[in-house]
């Protein structure tokens, strides 16, 4: 059967199986993400994307699960490896294609690129690069919702094991707990921050040990196991929604790509590639689907084809669109025009 999550701090009983529909839905987001990001990588290699391409290969299960339990009114503040989650949360592929390809019609209008995108008005915050900075911002949104008397909402934000070491992460986590906002922080330990392995990043046994020191509830999950991801993240979201303290979920995977597509990741050791957490979550999920006969081969192929078509469509659309032009640009960093500094 689908394997359940391992919980480090609290052992809870509960359903050990995610409903098949949810599993399959998540799988489809994973699949679409993989297809999409492979396409982005190939566009990058072909010189058709300026800047960088950052993919979530190997992290699709955890990311998809992040998006799956969020509802309208919830907040999602994703980071670099969260395409699956972004899609599951509702980000249209065309937004991504437009941002990567610099279309004027994208949400960032060519002003920012790649993973630096969002639609804050629709609950998806637009990350800045500085790792950890979005945690307190998410807390602020949740705090404001509390002020306004809203209930039943949550905010979910993600971080890598590298970003866990930034001061901003610490301050943000602590404030979340002080304010008791319904935050879920999903920290994915993919065993590298760029080229830096865990032993040069932190020295605790498991990052989930941080939870207690903030007054968070902490859980670990095998990020290669979609069912476990759905179970643990679903549970964390549920608990946050129900008013439990902020939740920390630490997932374990291996980054199955370079830091960005410019990076051949030759520093990733063969040894670590043989670790159980180095398995490809997408293949694992496919195996479960096949083994348990959750979908037949034809359906699987249809999904893959559909994903490919959607991806091609989004990319083709964005590629046809006009790039931003300097002359037409509104060079204003603030919204109130009469306050713009007229610098000679």
């Amino acid at each position: 059967m689908l394997q359940a999550a391992q919980r480090s701090e609290k052992k809870t009983k509960g359903k050990k199986t995610a409903p098949h529909e949810r599993y399959l839905e998540a799988y489809r987001w994973m699949l679409q993400t993989r297809v999409f990001e492979d396409k982005l990588a190939s566009l990058y290699r072909g010189g058709l994307i300026t800047g960088g391409v950052y993919v979530g290969r190997g992290q699709e299960a955890i990311s998809a699960a992040c998006g799956m339990f969020l509802q309208k009114g919830d907040i999602f503040a994703p980071l670099i490896r969260d395409q699956a989650g972004r899609s599951a949360f509702g980000e249209p592929l065309i937004d991504v294609a437009r941002t990567y390809l610099g279309s004027r019609q994208g949400p960032m209008r060519g002003r920012d690129g790649n993973i630096h995108r969002g639609k804050p008005g629709q609950g998806q915050l637009a990350m800045i690069s500085h790792l950890g900075a979005m945690i307190s911002v998410t807390v602020g949104v949740l705090l404001a919702k509390k002020f306004k008397g809203e209930t039943g909402f949550v905010g979910l934000t993600t971080i890598g094991e590298g970003g866990m070491q930034s001061g901003a992460t610490h301050e943000g986590m602590n404030i979340a707990a002080v304010e008791q906002v319904p935050l879920v922080l999903v920290a994915t330990n993919n065993h590298y921050a760029y080229s830096t392995p865990n032993d040069r990043e932190f020295a605790c046994t498991d990052l989930v040990d941080r939870a207690k020191g903030y007054g968070f509830e902490g859980y670990t999950v095998d990020g290669t196991d979609l069912a476990a991801c759905l179970d643990v993240i679903g549970g964390a979201v549920k608990r946050a929604r129900a008013g439990r303290p902020p939740q920390l979920v630490v997932a374990s995977v291996l980054r199955l790509a370079g830091h960005g597509e410019h990076d051949d990741a030759s520093y990733i050791t063969d040894e670590i590639k043989r670790e159980p957490f180095a398995q490809d979550c997408l293949k694992c999920a496919e195996k479960v689907i096949v083994d348990l006969n959750l979908a037949d081969a034809e359906t699987l192929k249809k999904w893959r084809d559909e994903a490919a078509a959607e991806v091609e469509n989004a990319v083709a659309t964005a590629q046809k669109e006009a790039a931003p032009e300097a002359g037409e640009e509104d060079w204003c960093a603030i919204s109130m025009r009469h306050l713009v500094d007229q610098i000679p």
Binding site: G140, A168, P344
Partner: protein, 322 residues
Amino acid sequence: MSITYLEAIREAQAKLLRDDDRVFIYGQDVGGNFGGAFKATKGLAKEFPGRVLNAPISEDAMVGTAIGAALQGMRPIVEMQFADFSSIALNQILNNAGTHYWRTNIPIPITVRLPSGGTKGSGPFHSQSMESLYAHYPGLVVMTPATVEDAYTMLIEAVAIDDPVVYCEHKYLYYHLKADRLPTEGLPIGKARIAREGRDLTIVTYSAMLHESLTVAEEFANEGLEIEVVDLRTVKPLDTDTVLASVARTGRLLCVGESFPWGGATAEVIARVTAEGFHLLDAAPARINAKDTPIPYHPNLWSAHRPSAKTIAEKARNLLRE
């Protein structure tokens, strides 16, 4: 009745909390019965329960939290305990709040209050004037009120502005400056004010240095020399037109600022005036700032480190001789 600069800041916040339920105040020690290290929020936590919140010693997250709340429609005011500690929040201010509108088309209406500037005995980490760091980066409005009236109306405006505002309030003025009453209206934000008319020399200044400059102007008036004093009010946007118009009248420019000498507001004013009003100048434009060292603790050193009526007068005299 008489009201201080500090009380004006408190009253502005009381009014904001009263009139606008999107407003809340977040900062170290602002809540409880305490009301902040300088008492700028004294009594407000009690009068507005749940809207004046103590923050942990986490300046980065304080501003991050405010940004998030602003995204959700609130109008947060963040009090830094001292401007100097905003160095910890600088990333959120510059890179998150300051870029957000440009990136997403959604402005971030937060106001970050910085108790700024020197008082004797405060030393290197409780005396800084940081307006030039914030004004250098795009995306922020940077206010430097010099009068009780401006302290009041500009703080109210700061919260009304849809974009992030860094509001630099001067600690020396907190108690030293008094007015008879609070104004109902101020000059528009972005407009400089002719604090004193004159014809012989223009001093462009802001914040506490306005008063040192006015002292000099009074002194010179006794000798029949009329200094025009321009109070910038906001260093960003910087009202080049008013400054140029003044220089057109006087032909001479002296810029006075309390912050460090390299770059910053005084250099910016000179660069603008010389670019647009070179022909208006009868003499080389001059500036006077603090010395290029950390701000000393001892009053003897402190008062020599910053510009004062004495050093401003000296510079002005040289300038008038040219």
